[in-house]
């Protein structure tokens, strides 16, 4: 008897659990102008329902509003499962969220079948279908308009402004204090040694500025270091050869070398043909420089700037002639080749630091200091972000997203 009662009890309760949620119109449905866009889409939001399931479908219907205010014929745009398109943490920043987390959000862009134009009104409705039952939402209207500011990326703009401020402040500080501390770069001691060796052996120095143009940081750093090398070369009366791939870089380097000779009081020793153009083609240039290395056997080779596949061809040929080789590049994919074939290698930002260290130009020193501060901020953000994200998972809280969202890239 007790068993029968228990069985009946389970049957009744089971039936209650198994009974589907009644089909009701979506709660809180509204159409709105999509935020942060060019005005060619509208967005729809509505609250999540406990009845959302894979068997329940949501159809989106749109109609154009005519000039006289009437609504045209509704057209089915798309159909989606009801248990989809929820706003998740990370979809929108907290300062620009079109609806609450957990609500449904669907963006309807303009398409060939249903063009959406800015300034034109549109009416939207949802039709929820389950089996042979269906229910419609009330109609909601929206007029898409283009936005002048993408508020979701305001954090990105703020960081740009802050970094610019840090940079300008650092440059100003270095102008006031030109002897700002910079860590000594190991490879720089070798520059003096290399030039001295070339002078003793009576062989030229070969200096390459890399594959980049004057728009590359590494090429600018290379030209600054060339200026310092040229000053030393002028004092020791050694021959300097600088083959180029880019005519504009060549023009800049010609001026840099000429000024270096003038600065140390040796304008007579300057040779116009120390800087010469070969070709812009990667391997033609490499073949030409390899030929120079094998014929003229420079005692010291400098590889400063950005490089690609030609790096090993240049450095290995240089190594075979017995030259002392010093490299400096921000091309991380070529670093292994430089490290294995050169006596000294300046890695990444050491190249930028070397140019600042040697020249002591306030702009270069200040920029380096500004970059270091920027990197310190990034490191602090990494530590803070990792800690907060871990904390958020452990305590099951979304509150950490108020800080984490500040560092995210939203579109």
């Amino acid at each position: 008897m007790i068993l029968v009662s228990l069985f009946l009890l389970l049957l009744i309760h089971g039936a209650a659990f198994a009974a589907p949620f009644p089909l009701t119109p979506p709660e809180g449905f509204r159409a709105l102008d999509t935020p942060n866009d060019a005005g060619t889409s509208i967005s729809l939001v509505w609250k999540a329902s406990p009845g959302d399931s894979k068997d329940r479908k949501v159809q989106v219907w749109l109609a154009e509003k005519k000039a006289n205010g009437s609504v045209g014929e509704f057209k089915k745009i798309t159909e989606l499962p009801s248990k989809s398109r929820y706003i998740k943490p990370g979809d929108f920043p907290w300062w620009d969220q079109p609806a609450a987390k957990g609500d449904h959000y669907v963006k309807i862009p303009s398409s060939q079948s249903f063009p959406i134009e800015d300034g034109k009104g549109y009416a939207a409705k949802l039709v929820i279908r389950e089996g042979d039952q269906e229910v419609s939402s009330p109609v909601s209207e929206a007029t898409p308009a283009p936005n002048w500011v993408n508020l979701a990326q305001i954090n990105n703009l703020a960081f740009v402004v802050v970094f610019t401020g840090i940079l300008l402040t650092s440059i100003g500080a270095s102008r006031r204090n030109p002897h700002m501390y910079l860590r000594r770069i190991a490879g720089l001691d070798a520059v003096e040694e290399a030039i001295g060796r070339s002078t003793e052996m009576g062989r030229p120095i070969l200096y390459l500025t890399g594959a980049g143009d004057m728009g590359d940081v590494s090429t600018i750093a290379a030209t600054v270091i060339l200026g310092e090398v040229a000053k030393k070369v002028a004092r020791y009366d050694t021959t300097l050869k600088v083959p180029h791939r880019d005519p504009i870089v060549m023009a800049v380097c010609q001026e840099v070398v000429k000024e270096a000779y003038v600065e140390v009081g040796r304008p007579d020793a300057y040779r116009e043909d120390s800087n010469f153009f070969i070709t812009g083609d990667q391997f033609s240039y490499t073949a030409a420089v390899d030929g120079i290395m094998l014929r003229e056997k420079p005692a010291a080779n400098f590889f400063m700037g950005s490089y690609f596949a030609e790096s090993l061809l240049l450095t290995e040929t240089g190594a075979s002639t017995g030259a002392i080789q010093i490299a400096g590049t921000d091309s991380d994919h070529q670093l292994p080749f430089f490290v294995t074939t050169c006596d000294y290698t300046l890695i990444g930002e050491e190249l930028y630091a070397a140019s600042a260290y040697l020249s002591r130009e306030p702009v270069l020193v200040g920029t380096l200091r500004g970059q270091d501060i920027g990197k310190a901020i990034i490191m602090a953000a990494l530590i803070l972000g990792t800690t907060l994200a871990t904390l958020g998972v452990l305590v099951q809280s979304d509150a950490v997203n108020y800080i984490l969202d500040l560092f995210k890239d939203f579109k």
């Binding site: 990667q282 391997f283 690609f308 596949a309 075979s320 994919h333 070529q334």
Partner: protein, 278 residues
């Protein structure tokens, strides 16, 4: 022994070159054919293309010149075979002017093999100056960026480009790049702005540098070097030059490993003798 060690440590480079040459030639003449293991990064590309519906727009940018042909051409051929087999609409182009003829010949050859027609199943747009600016221009209006294809036929009205106005209408883009302009440029000026899904293929040297983009989801797959091409050929079930080349690559790697280990043995023999580094 010491004299031999001394000789070996400063061996003539040409002997090393001969060993590498033999390591490359012999396996090509007598292949031993080992199974190719597929990495998740290559599988990511394969699975995405495999799940694209028929008629989807697949954009393939062959951003390399003849110097990178041995590594990147097998990747291009394998991807095109897969795309044509899935009946995708293929759009091709290149950002590297010296690679235009090579890219055109790759498209023509694979299309002929797979029975596909130009303008109907695929189009090769060719080269146009601008790199990043060109990508932005394509993102706004593909027909203004490329009024005609590489064969000088007008792009407007081409059956393969039906419904494609700009890069937003591309379902999947892969850039096979040997340097710059390449995958990073496509991401910065293309995917970041126009929101298509993309993957990359690169030479073996550049591949490790692209892992940050792969790990962060900026690209959803990466085909690295000849090994990556061989993995892709294995996935599509059509072995080509990449799989054939892996035997040679295996042998060469082993020659280098053997030489390096031997060099270290001799180095330590000399170092132990003198009590200081040789």
């Amino acid at each position: 022994m010491k004299e031999f060690a001394r000789w070996m440590v400063s061996i003539d480079r040409r002997i090393i070159f001969v060993l590498i040459a033999l390591g490359t030639l012999l396996p090509l003449l007598h292949p031993f054919g080992l199974p190719i293991k597929v990495s998740p990064e290559v599988r990511g590309v394969y699975d995405y293309i495999e799940n694209l519906p028929e008629g989807s727009v697949f954009f393939l940018s062959l951003d390399f010149d003849p110097s990178s042909k041995p590594e990147l051409e097998p990747q291009a051929v394998a991807l095109l075979r897969h795309a044509f087999r899935k009946h995708l609409r293929v759009i091709g182009m290149t950002h590297w002017l010296p690679g235009t003829g090579l890219a055109d010949s790759i498209f023509a050859r694979v299309a002929k093999e797979m029975g596909k027609q130009a303008e109907k199943d695929y189009v090769f747009l060719g080269w146009s100056p601008g790199t990043g600016s060109l990508v932005i221009a394509m993102g706004q209006d593909l027909y203004k960026a490329f009024p005609s294809d590489n064969a000088k036929h007008p792009t407007v009205g081409m059956p393969v480009l039906e419904g494609v106005r700009n890069l937003r209408d591309v379902n999947y883009l892969i850039s096979l790049a040997a340097g710059n302009p390449g995958i990073e440029m496509w991401y910065v000026f293309g995917k970041d702005k126009y929101r298509f899904e993309m993957a990359g293929g690169s030479t073996g040297v550049m591949a490790p540098g692209l892992y940050p983009f792969l790990r962060s989801g900026q690209i959803n797959g990466l085909i690295g070097g000849l090994q990556g091409a061989a993995e892709y050929e294995t996935l599509i079930g059509q072995k080509g030059t990449a799989v054939a080349g892996m035997d040679a690559q295996s042998a060469d790697h082993f020659v280098i490993i053997t030489l390096v280990l031997l060099c270290n043995v001799f180095y330590f023999v000399l170092r132990g003798d003198k009590g200081r580094p040789a």
